[in-house]
């Protein structure tokens, strides 16, 4: 832990810092007024009192450098160069707002100027800044990333995982803690076992610096050193800025239940802007003091700028209501893939996992920005040989081992994708990334939408699902229904090596987040796979077997079991049409409905749980759109609604088997 050295900057820089802080202050006070007038529709977290931090740090940032921030992010956006009109229009819900009215106070996106977004969730910005740092390192770009977060974030796992990852990969990142002493209303002195944030840098082997966050020159100097260090490739720095917000957590909230008026007045007396003005008026290292009239003139200019910006923001139109569902996914940009070759003509047989490695290798060759991250996927080639041979060929930066830090590296992947990489996260078992569910669902799935389509999210999250071989409950889950529920995620669940290669290639080629879930019992299954590159579009079901009497929809391992069941009932004269949706999201309802129109009967076989699951969704769609085609009730056959046990006897009892599927088909025929 170190303390910043005495500041020494030139006069022009000092005046510019002063002007920036004033711009933030006056914009915030205008927003506070507008909140009272009802112009701000939701929350309004002002930055009043903390202006020195954003301004002091971001004075060193150029357009190529990136900022990831938190719910109190107005100051960061303005300091990064966002015009006040865009910020105010955003809070007024207007189409000219920086997020086109999608975000409000807590979701500010301006990727054009390197303002990569603020988040309503405390913590993810730390991981995302690390991700941007990873992109800069991978692409050898001369750029740095900064994460701004409050003292409330440092007791969160993201802080721990993010700082550690940035440390081990020596990422060019500034972690700027704005210690304003309250996490909303909970005092940091109460919440922290070690209230010295800067001292925590040592835990991760990185420098930790504590500065007076109300002294813009001190912040400026500390940040300068950290930025230079980052640009030299020496890794991240943690900067703790001791500061205070002098307005309520959010406009309109009560303030004096958890702190006193006296305390607030004390800190108001330490106003960073007043202190900066005094410093400028006094002396200036070797230069003459600044003339007070000049500073007054600057203040008037800023006041006028804010007033005019506010007027324009108020006059700006609201977005069209019909835009409320656009940009959930990226616009399709790749040319339509060539139709996949027919399997029957291909003599070569390889395993499911080998097929995915081929697709991954092709993607590595096509895009330099593709990298894989996961536990044991480097030199070792992956627990399931999912990256076999890639480390040797593409090196450790693109085939990157991680600590057991799922939330950390998934959040890092989010930031990496936001900054222009195409990360592939190999999480081994789907159960493991539940620790990162917030990063997937709250961040990765939503960034494209919240940024109004200006940031794409080419993240592929791959790993194993499924019951078998006594893996027990923490290595047997599926979860595709859960992910399929959320807008912004693609969910792919292949059942054959041929499909696995084509669908994985498609996932890697696209700009959307994809969960690529591989049933572990299928990984070593062999099938005909052409050595050439090919892609299979997402959202196209495969008709595995044509039939006339009953439609069976099955996924992954259940496709094989349902095929066996179809053979059994064929001998009884029942003709089964077996459909493998292949992707849960998007779900090819059309193919299922066409089949049901033919057969009049629908059975959905799903290894995982019934409630709110894939079968429920398909059944609802069929009942809705195919009602007049149904000649029998829709049936589901699911795994038992219980965690997966270890003993083979117990495990066996919890998943559907071919004979049970056959029985269900016969039962359905009798309906």
């Amino acid at each position: 832990m170190a303390t910043a050295a005495a500041p020494c900057i030139d006069r022009a820089t000092g005046v510019e810092l002063y002007r920036r802080m004033l711009l933030i202050r006056k914009t915030e006070l205008q927003l506070a007024k507008s909140h009272q007038r009802g112009l701000v529709h939701g929350a309004c977290h002002t930055y009043v009192g903390q202006e020195a931090v954003a301004v002091g740090v971001l004075a060193h940032f150029g357009p190529q450098d990136m900022v990831f921030s938190t719910h109190r992010g107005h100051g960061h956006a303005l300091a990064k160069g966002m015009p006040p009109e865009e910020l105010m229009a955003e809070l007024y819900g207007r189409v000219t707002g920086c997020s086109r009215g999608r975000g409000g106070s807590m979701h500010l996106f301006a990727p054009e100027i390197g303002m990569m977004g603020t988040s309503g969730i405390v913590g993810p910005c730390i991981l995302q800044a690390a991700g941007a740092g990873y992109t800069f390192k991978l692409k050898k770009q001369d750029a740095v990333a900064a994460a701004f977060f409050g003292d409330g974030a440092v007791n969160n796992g993201a802080f721990h995982e993010g700082l550690n990852l940035a440390s081990i990969y020596r990422l060019p990142v500034l972690f700027v803690c704005e210690n304003n002493q309250y996490a909303t209303e909970v005092p940091f002195s109460y919440a922290a076992g070690n209230p010295q944030v800067a001292s925590r840098g040592a835990a991760y082997g990185i420098p930790g610096v504590q500065v007076d966050g109300n002294d813009v020159l001190a912040v400026y100097v500390a940040a300068q050193e950290a930025v230079e260090r980052a640009r030299r490739g020496e890794g991240p720095t943690l900067i703790e800025c001791k500061t205070y917000r002098t307005r309520a957590h959010s406009e309109g909230m009560t303030d004096f239940t958890y702190r006193t008026r006296e305390e607030v007045e004390q800190w108001k007396a330490r106003c960073p802007i007043a202190r900066c003005r005094d410093a400028l008026l006094e002396s200036f290292c070797d230069e003459e003091p600044v003339d007070a009239a000049w500073l007054d003139e600057i203040e008037d200019e800023v006041a006028t700028e804010v007033t005019e910006a506010n007027a324009r923001a108020i006059e700006a139109p609201y977005p069209a209501a019909s835009d409320s569902t656009t940009h959930v996914f990226a616009a399709a940009r790749s040319p339509a893939p060539a139709p996949p070759p027919r399997i029957a003509r291909e003599p070569r047989e390889i395993s499911f996992v080998e097929a995915t490695v081929e697709a991954l290798r092709d993607a590595f060759e096509q895009h330099d920005s593709v990298f894989v991250m996961g536990e044991g996927i480097g030199q070792r080639g992956g627990n399931f040989k999912t990256t076999e041979g890639l480390y040797q060929r593409f090196g450790g930066e693109r085939v990157c081992d991680t600590p057991i830090s799922e939330r950390g590296f998934v959040g890092l992947a989010c930031g990496a994708a936001m900054s222009g990489s195409r990360p592939v996260i190999d999480f081994m078992f789907a159960d493991f990334i539940l620790d990162a569910a917030g990063e997937i669902i709250n961040q990765i799935a939503k960034v494209q939408y919240m940024s109004n389509g200006r940031i794409t999210m080419p993240v592929v999250l791959r790993g194993c699902i499924g019951v078998g071989h006594s893996a027990a409950t923490h290595h047997s889950g599926s979860y595709y229904s859960m992910y399929g529920h959320f807008p912004g995620l693609r969910v792919v669940v292949p059942s054959t090596p041929f499909d696995a290669k084509g669908l994985f290639a498609e996932a890697l080629a696209g700009d959307d987040p994809v969960l690529f879930l591989e049933h572990r019992e299928l990984l070593s299954v062999k099938g005909h796979v052409p050595p050439t590159s090919y892609r299979i579009p997402l959202g196209e079901a495969a008709i595995v077997r044509e039939g006339a009497d009953v439609t069976v929809v099955a996924l992954a391992q259940m496709v094989r079991k349902a095929s066996a069941a179809a053979e059994v009932v064929a001998s009884q004269g029942i003709s089964v049409e077996l459909i493998d949706p292949r992707t849960v999201a998007p779900l090819d309802v059309t193919t299922i409905l066409e089949s049901v129109a033919k057969t009049g009967r629908l059975l959905i076989v799903d290894e995982t749980f019934g409630p709110f699951g894939l079968g429920a969704e398909i059944a609802a769609q069929a009942a809705d759109q195919g009602f007049d085609d149904l000649d029998a009730p829709i049936k589901r056959l699911n795994g038992k609604h219980a965690p997966t046990p270890y003993s083979p006897v117990l495990e066996n009892n919890n998943v559907p088997h071919a004979d049970e599927i056959a029985e269900a088909i016969v039962g359905l025929m009798a309906e």
Binding site: G600, F627, D628, D629, L630, D631, A632, A670, E671
Partner: protein, 495 residues
């Protein structure tokens, strides 16, 4: 694009109707608004106009005149006038319970009674062989008639249909209310339904909605023109499935000569004809939804009989038809209604609405069943005008060509059983009408006149009125006035 011509719903409870005839030939060019075919719906025969234009294509195996057709059934197609001709899929004719070949044969084999009527015999009109008339096809219980071409029958969700099955409510007979029936509707209907003995239940013919029918089977049935209620289900709990419908369709005779139903098959029973079902619905509705009271009175009709004889003699000389007793009673009722307008009040949609004219319905028997054509503005008509209009209505009724309009808007119905040895009876109301007059046989009877016993031509009148709408006194006052008018009729008849 080829456009299907489907059977429209003509009345609120119409599930099926009788196809009368095409008014255009196969291959004719049809314009929008052209008269396309005639269809007998709820007792009214309507000319159906085309909504679309095109070349008419009538499949040779499509519905024949007299066939019972389901609402929504495809009768034919309109092909685009130019360009590629669409393919016409022939529709299997309906073989429902009401579409047995014998039914159609009956309709054509019965000698046309219109001839008898036009011969001058009034007997065919005077003694209508039924106890009560049936309401006009529309306007019953205040419902607005909806003409719809929707192919769907009774709208109800699967759960409501199940509830209906459990409670024994026949959704087919409830009719299409224009909205999906709720469970509450079914419970309400169930609470109104009469108790059925198990024996009756066993013999009750199957009706639509009683069995579970899969949505697909329902759709296929519509396409193939099969009435699901005639089919035995092979699914779980007897659920009717697609295969059952297809089997039924393939078993159905393709020509009318393919063998009649075995006669006197007690187990199978006789299918309920469409007309009988409509009558039953009307009668049940009247019984359940009105508060009927019947008043009886005897009147000396000697003057009336003398007047009729006079008319008959002069008419014969002039080669004209004399007015029948029915017309005389209608004319007198018109005068009595003017005097007692309380009887013009009707209970419609939870409001009391007074009819704006004195229109009187008359129960008329036809070979197809009982109909109730309406004579409008009776007080404004001379007896001769009234008589000639009545004759025309009867002719239309015999030809099954009464339009809905001819049966709407009656204020009171006159139903005469005077051709039989019936003295008095209890007519059932014809909703939404508030009163119905039953006329018995005119017979010579001893009467006391000026303290002397004398013989007079006496008629018994039975007036049923709806006590929801009016009380006993105004009804009695009406009946009293009518009796007075019968006893001194000339002034009223010649007014």
């Amino acid at each position: 694009m080829t456009i299907e011509i489907t059977v429209p719903r003509l009345g609120w409870s119409m599930e099926e109707g009788s196809f009368c005839r095409w008014l255009k030939a196969d291959g004719d060019a049809v314009r929008e608004g052209d008269e396309l075919y005639e269809l007998e719906g709820d007792k009214a025969t309507q000319v159906v106009e085309s909504f679309d234009a095109g070349i008419l294509r009538i499949a040779t195996d499509g519905p024949q005149p007299g066939d019972i057709v389901r609402v929504g059934q495809v009768l034919g197609h309109l092909e685009p006038r130019s360009g590629r001709a669409g393919s016409v899929r022939s529709e299997t004719p309906t073989r429902g319970p009401n579409a047995t070949p014998t039914n159609g044969q009956n309709a054509t084999a019965t000698p046309a009674p219109a001839g008898a009527s036009s011969d001058g015999s009034r007997d065919a009109v005077k003694p209508p062989p039924a106890l009560a008339p049936v309401a006009a096809a529309s306007g019953g219980i205040g419902a607005t008639t909806k003409h719809t071409t929707s192919p769907r029958t009774a709208a109800a969700s699967p759960s409501v249909r199940r509830l209906a099955r459990q409670l024994g409510v026949n959704l087919g007979a409830v009719g299409n209310a224009g909205y999906s029936l709720s469970a509450a509707d079914v419970l309400r209907i169930a609470s109104r339904s009469p108790m059925q003995s198990p024996a009756e239940e066993a013999h009750a013919p199957p009706m639509a909605g009683e069995q579970a029918v899969t949505p697909r089977a329902r759709r296929i049935a519509r396409e193939l023109g099969v009435v699901p209620s005639t089919v035995v289900g092979t699914g779980r709990n007897g659920r009717i499935r697609e295969r059952d419908i297809r089997n039924a369709a393939s078993r159905a005779p393709t020509t009318p000569s393919a063998g009649p139903l075995p006669p006197h098959d007690v187990a199978a029973g006789q299918p309920i004809t469409h007309l009988r079902r409509v009558i039953a619905q009307r009668m049940m509705a009247a019984c359940h939804e009105t508060a009927p009271v019947t008043l009886t009175a005897r009147a000396d009709a000697s003057e009336l009989v003398r007047f009729r004889e006079e008319c008959k003699r002069t008419s014969d000389e002039q080669g004209l038809k004399p007015p029948g007793y029915t017309e005389l009673f209608v004319k007198l009722c018109g005068a009595a209604l003017q005097k007692h307008p309380a009887l013009l009040d009707q209970w419609i949609d939870e409001r009391i609405v007074r009819m704006d004219g004195v229109h009187i319905a008359v129960a008329v028997a036809t070979p197809q069943g009982l109909v109730t054509p309406v004579l409008r503005d009776v007080p404004a008509l001379s007896l001769r005008e009234l008589s000639s209009r009545f004759v025309r209505l009867i002719d239309l009724a015999r030809q099954q060509r009464l339009a809905l309009e001819d049966m709407r808007g009656g204020a009171l119905t006159v139903s005469s059983l005077g051709g039989y040895r019936v003295e008095a009876f209890t007519p059932i109301l014809n909703p939404p009408q508030t009163a119905i007059l039953g006329v018995g046989r005119i017979t010579p009877q001893p009467v006391v006149k000026k303290q002397q016993v004398a013989v007079a031509e006496v008629v018994a009148l039975s007036l049923t009125f709806d006590h929801r709408v009016i009380d006993g006194a105004p009804a009695a006052a009406f009946l009293t006035s009518l009796c007075d008018m019968i006893e001194s009729p000339l002034g009223w008849l010649l007014a």
